[in-house]
């Protein structure tokens, strides 16, 4: 019996925790300097080498922070940290949490809730005023009711909130 418990313990401890990916939509990135800026800013938030774990899609303007260190970032802190790169994140997603930044005070909270309720997969969590870099935004946090592709999340949020489009 003891051997079984010991074996189970060893097996469980050797299974790595599910590494998460934090995704950001960052408009305006055009060159390799943007890539370097993302890597420099977020290198301490991922496990392993930033060159391998931080992926920047210059065409779609997405940043993927793969194998995020446990507790290193959430959607809000990632949005707050992005201005160190010289850019702003307008949509973020980590696990079942998504977030969008809206121009401050442009849409009332009731309206935000109403618009989000038009899509079944979104559950409104909160709106909070944040200062990301020099700019102030309404940070809107959303719970995702089902697992959905990142690109679809961005497109749906752009449709619901055309105000986030640059």
């Amino acid at each position: 019996m003891k051997k079984i418990i010991l074996l189970t313990t060893i097996l469980c401890s050797s299974i790595p925790a599910m590494a998460e990916t934090l995704r950001l939509s960052v408009p305006g990135m055009v060159c390799q300097m943007c890539v370097q800026g993302m890597r420099k800013t977020f290198k301490k938030d991922v496990k392993g080498k930033a060159d391998q774990k931080i992926i920047v899609d210059l065409e779609k303007k997405y940043v993927f922070l793969n194998e995020l260190k446990e507790g290193a970032l959430d959607t809000k802190s990632a949005i707050l940290k992005t201005p160190n790169t010289g850019y702003h994140a307008r949509v973020a997603q980590l696990g079942s949490t998504a977030a969008v930044t809206l121009p401050m005070g442009k849409i009332k909270v009731d309206e935000i809730k109403k618009r989000l309720s038009s899509e079944k997969i979104f559950n409104f969590v909160k709106v909070e005023k944040i200062k990301a870099g020099k700019d102030e935004f309404d940070y809107v946090e959303i719970k995702l009711k089902e697992d959905i592709d990142w690109e679809k999340i961005v497109k749906m949020l752009e449709k619901i909130f055309p105000e986030i489009k640059v």
Partner: protein, 212 residues
């Protein structure tokens, strides 16, 4: 938004850059080492970006035809405004430098200050930049103008070699006498940028830059 972009173009068209320093302000804690060499001048510069709108730099500039002018200055760069488009960005920067100059041919030396207003707009396909610089030394003000336009023959993804074909037009009467037109190739790979070209007069032009 379109109106704002037009404004950037207007500023660029009016001003035309000087020692175009890619982005003089980069990401927080970013360090840039940069040198630009040509037959008639050379510049070496190192900068540190404190936050994405402000950097400090050390600079040394040499102009052969300006009585072998060389300066050593400390300067600041400030990002006045950045416009982020879906697939483009526009920036306006100001720069101010002060320090010491010497002209070996005429045995002059003393205080020098220079300021610059610079704008750029770029997408993954097109690139424009321009600026005006004003030198003050030995009780005289010397303006310098420079403008660039370029395009990328292909879209480069992350960590791929990014290539540009660029045409630079510059004017600094005291050094080069005439408008200089310099076609060049720009390459950008990871954190290293280099530019190679030659003016229509045949003078070589080389830029090397790395950021960390």
């Amino acid at each position: 938004m379109k109106m704002k972009m037009k404004m950037i173009f207007l500023v660029w068209a009016i001003l035309g850059t000087v020692n175009l320093f890619a982005h003089p302000v980069i990401y927080k804690d970013g360090v840039v080492l940069w040198t630009q060499l040509s037959s008639e001048s050379n510049v070496i510069r190192g900068s540190y970006t404190f936050d994405p709108s402000f950097s400090v730099e050390l600079n040394s500039t040499y102009y052969r035809n300006l009585d072998k002018y060389r300066d050593y200055t400390l300067g600041v760069n400030y990002l006045v405004k950045r416009w982020l488009g879906a697939d483009s960005q526009g920036n306006i920067y100001v720069q101010a430098h002060a320090g010491f100059y010497e002209q070996k041919e005429v045995d002059e030396n003393g205080f020098v200050a220079h300021g610059m207003l610079m704008g750029d707009w770029e997408s993954r396909k097109y690139y424009t930049a321009g600026g005006a610089m004003l030198y003050y030394f030995n009780d005289q003000y010397l303006p310098k103008f420079n403008a660039r336009i370029g395009f990328a023959p292909y879209d480069a993804g992350m960590d791929a070699l990014q290539s540009w074909l660029i045409l630079q037009v510059s004017y600094f009467e005291e050094n080069s006498k005439n408008i200089e037109v310099t076609p060049m190739l720009r390459f950008f790979y990871k954190n290293v940028l280099w530019e190679v070209g030659a003016s229509l007069k045949g003078d070589f032009f080389l830029t090397l830059m790395t950021h960390m």
